[in-house]
């Protein structure tokens, strides 16, 4: 009896519909899933940007440790030719935000950012870090000074430290957008615009007018711009080979 059964290989276990589906993908490379080949990947940055500390669970967060490896993978994957960054963020950790912005800036793949809803505070350097930046007509960007949380010691050094942190953000924004440092500082320390704070809210076109964002637009413009960049990159590579 046993000999008779031995040559037949054990049947793969397929108990549930979900597992079966994955098995067909693995074993036959077939699936009923609509396979859309896309050369543009999309990175949504939502809620708070989380860095050194885990924020309480009521916050919707984008984690630095997720985003950075994804960006590295996108940079290395030859099938991905462009990256669209969708921003709807209320800011967050300064260092995590700047880290993400620095990685985006140093990518060789074409990048386009689109601010939808809001791209506030630390979302501003991330928005300007892309090669081309867009803002939806109704989207807003809040520019305001950095505040210190927790125990604050009232000594001049505290102010100097905060000023230094602020300068990091200002310098980055100035370097990667068309806004001047003086103008950005002016917007940052404006009074009478925000109810609880000093600073400015830029709505859609305002952000373009001050030189922070390149254009007002939506997904159509974003994809069109990315495809233009991808074409340029391909031409550049072609020129190099000839």
């Amino acid at each position: 009896m046993q000999d008779k059964h031995e040559p037949t290989p054990p049947k793969p276990r397929k108990q549930t519909q979900g597992v079966k589906k994955i098995d067909t993908i693995k074993e036959f490379g077939q699936t009923d899933v609509p396979t859309v080949k896309t050369n543009i990947h999309c990175l949504p940055i939502i809620g708070q940007i989380e860095g050194h500390l885990i924020l309480p669970p009521q916050n919707k967060t984008t984690k630095y440790e997720h985003i950075i490896p994804q960006l590295v993978a996108i940079e290395q994957n030859p099938e991905i030719e462009g990256l669209l960054i969708i921003l709807n963020t209320v800011g967050g950790d300064v260092e995590a935000g700047l880290a993400i912005a620095e990685i985006i800036v140093s990518m060789t793949k074409p990048t386009v950012s689109l601010v939808l809803g809001g791209g506030h505070s630390i979302g501003v350097p991330i928005a300007v870090s892309a090669r081309y930046s867009l803002i939806a007509e109704t989207a807003t960007m809040t520019i305001h000074p950095i505040r210190l949380s927790g125990l604050v010691i009232g000594v001049p050094q505290t102010y100097e430290y905060m000023d230094k942190m602020q300068d990091r953000v200002i310098r980055f924004v100035e370097k990667h957008s068309c806004i001047s440092e003086a103008k950005f500082r002016e917007l940052m320390f404006q009074t009478g615009e925000l109810a609880r704070d000093i600073g400015t809210v830029l709505v859609g076109r305002d952000a373009v007018e001050v030189g922070l964002i390149d254009d007002v637009g939506g997904i159509n413009k974003a994809i069109k711009k990315l495809q233009e960049f991808i074409k340029e990159e391909k031409n550049k590579k072609g020129d190099y080979l000839h």
């Binding site: 276990r13 597992v19 899933v33 543009i40 990947h41 708070q48 669970p57 996108i74 800011g91 942190m165």
Partner: protein, 73 residues
């Protein structure tokens, strides 16, 4: 750590010690946030991927139930 946000800090840092009911798993190469539904089952809450085509896969739609321990066959 410096938080740079227009939200009031008391709102951001408000802690209620309840912890997150969600769990993050890797399913078929995709990172998913799931809500455990009982033994070995989870409901998809969020899909985390930069590949837009992943969001079109019917079995990965938010609200779908998936087995939690996919690695044990």
């Amino acid at each position: 750590m410096i938080l740079y946000t227009p939200l009031p800090l008391e709102l951001v840092l408000l802690s209620d010690d309840s912890g997150s009911p969600y769990q993050e798993i890797e399913y078929d190469g995709v990172t998913l946030v799931v809500e455990p539904m009982g033994i070995g089952l989870g409901k998809i809450v969020q899909v985390k991927s930069t590949d837009p085509s992943v969001y079109l896969r019917p079995e990965l739609q938010p609200g779908q139930q998936i087995p939690l321990s996919t690695r044990i066959n």
